[in-house]
């Protein structure tokens, strides 16, 4: 819960609410980009960000994203975060 996970912003989903689709280790998840959007959110597409409980908190470069993901995998935190995302989706359906 305390460590962010790197994801790549792939599309803007709701410009007014500053929401975008991010791809995190092959999993797509809608995230809030308010903290990293200092221009039109469309400018963020293609960029990497550290995503923390559904909020993109810092723009990072691809090498940093790679290294962070490796460190998180080593700690088992990447898997935990992906499971939490799946659990979140299940909770919305009333399955969790």
């Amino acid at each position: 819960m305390c460590l962010g996970i790197p994801g790549q912003i792939v599309a803007v989903t709701d410009e007014a609410r500053l929401m975008a689709m991010a791809e995190v280790s092959g999993v797509r998840r809608e995230v809030n980009v308010a903290c990293i959007a200092d221009g039109p959110p469309g400018d963020l597409v293609g960029k990497w960000a550290l995503i923390h409980v559904g909020f993109a908190m810092a723009v990072i470069d691809e090498a940093e994203a790679d290294a962070t993901l490796r460190a998180l995998r080593g700690l088992g935190e990447a898997q935990e975060t992906l499971q939490a995302m799946e659990a979140g989706a299940a909770a919305l359906e009333g399955r969790g």
């Binding site: 819960m1 809030n32 962070t68």
Partner: protein, 378 residues
């Protein structure tokens, strides 16, 4: 160096370890009279154990595991209040999975869920917002907890709920801040800390200046660090270098992610939605002044404490920790987890007695998880 092959760059790790050893010798650090460095963040504690860094560094360096796991420091009274909220028929309680197994006086959230309470494990407060939109006839309460890394997410969610006029969403706020407990530990005459490795992702939000008092008022070095094992080793080296050269400064080893002044959008959202509580209870540490946040009165409609008339100031009582639990002494670095009489007996990750066993970022769970592998390797 049997762990070195686990490093992405073993040669670089070896070089830093050698420089740490040279520096430790120069300072005169020995196992009998060690340099005591506290890593504040639970993520760092986890990484230190995972990579066996405490065994790889010079024996004159002792890691003291700080209070930086928000689940671990959650007081039992707040878990009890959360369970009571979840048991109300109209409530859907949304929480991070980490909080599910924290023991309360009567039960944990996991037990409450098994007993029929509607508790949903979510990844993000955004999921809780969506639950509120989809269940207009229910009250969705989000169990907000965490340090400054998580605080902006609940602040932005409350702002969003306010914009939408989402009246059936509220936050049970247990957010806490990193600097006050550090000050409390520095004021404790028994602690004897020589320096700090500072939290990376918290600092991404707040920047490095909230730590200025550590260097200025207490004369101790602090280095904000990343999460790769090499980041941690480099940060230890930077702390030692400050000690060796008689400096006490706030340094940023993780500048590639941590801006000096933090994240302005996050800080503005926090300031808009939250204000400090006069004091807040930390499990194992007791009440610490201005260490917790509460929701400002203008957002009272989204404050579960106001909405359900619970929490601080509403008949709250301090709940004693379970018999024989030494969480407080472990959390302040006075004893090691293995010195707790309950470790591995009354308290295991499957059946945690204390909160330090609940989360993988807790010192006891880290000892337990990696202790077996380490014993086999030694």
């Amino acid at each position: 160096m049997k762990y070195a092959e686990e490093f992405r760059d073993p040669a670089a790790a070896r070089a830093v370890l050698e420089r740490i050893a040279t520096m430790a010798d120069r300072i005169g650090a020995t196992p009998e009279s060690p340099v005591r460095i506290m890593e504040i963040c639970g993520g760092h504690t986890h990484a230190i154990f995972r990579y066996g860094l405490d065994k790889l560094v010079h024996p004159g360096i002792e890691f003291i595991h700080g209070p930086g796991c928000p689940v671990c420091v959650l007081p039992m009274s707040r878990v009890d209040e959360c369970v009571a909220l979840a048991e109300r028929a109209e409530v859907i309680l949304a929480t991070f999975g980490d909080a599910m197994r924290v023991p309360g006086t009567r039960k944990s959230l996991l037990q409450a869920k098994a007993d029929g309470a509607d508790i949903r494990m979510v990844y993000s407060p955004l999921d809780a917002l969506e639950l509120a939109r989809r269940n207009p006839d229910r009250e969705v309460v989000f169990f907000g907890l965490g340090f400054e890394t998580t605080t902006p997410s609940t602040a932005l969610s409350i702002q969003q709920a306010a914009r939408e006029g989402l009246g059936n969403f509220s936050v049970f706020c247990n957010h806490i801040t990193v600097p006050p407990p550090i000050k409390a530990l520095l004021d404790d005459p028994h602690m004897g800390l020589d320096g700090f490795v500072g939290p990376g992702h918290v600092s991404m939000v707040i920047g490095i200046h909230p730590y200025d008092f550590i260097a200025r008022d207490y004369g101790k070095p602090i280095v904000v660090a990343g999460f790769e094992p090499l980041d941690l080793l480099q940060s230890v080296l930077m702390v030692l270098d400050q000690i060796a050269t008689g400096r006490a400064e706030v340094e940023n080893q993780y500048a590639r992610v941590v801006p000096e002044h933090g994240n302005p959008v996050s800080l503005a959202a926090i300031a808009d939605v939250y204000e400090p509580r006069p004091s807040f209870e930390w499990r194992g540490l007791g009440e610490i002044e201005e260490s917790g946040l509460r929701i400002r009165p203008v957002y009272a409609a989204w404050d579960a404490e106001a909405k359900f008339a619970i929490g601080y100031g509403a008949g709250r009582r301090v709940v004693a920790e379970p018999e024989g639990c030494a969480c407080g002494a472990v959390m302040t670095g006075r004893i090691k987890p293995t010195d707790c009489p309950q470790f591995g007996r009354g308290c295991t990750p499957e059946m945690p007695l204390g909160a330090l066993m609940v989360s993988s970022e807790g010192a006891c769970a880290a000892y337990w998880q990696y202790g077996g592998a380490r014993a086999a390797a030694e």
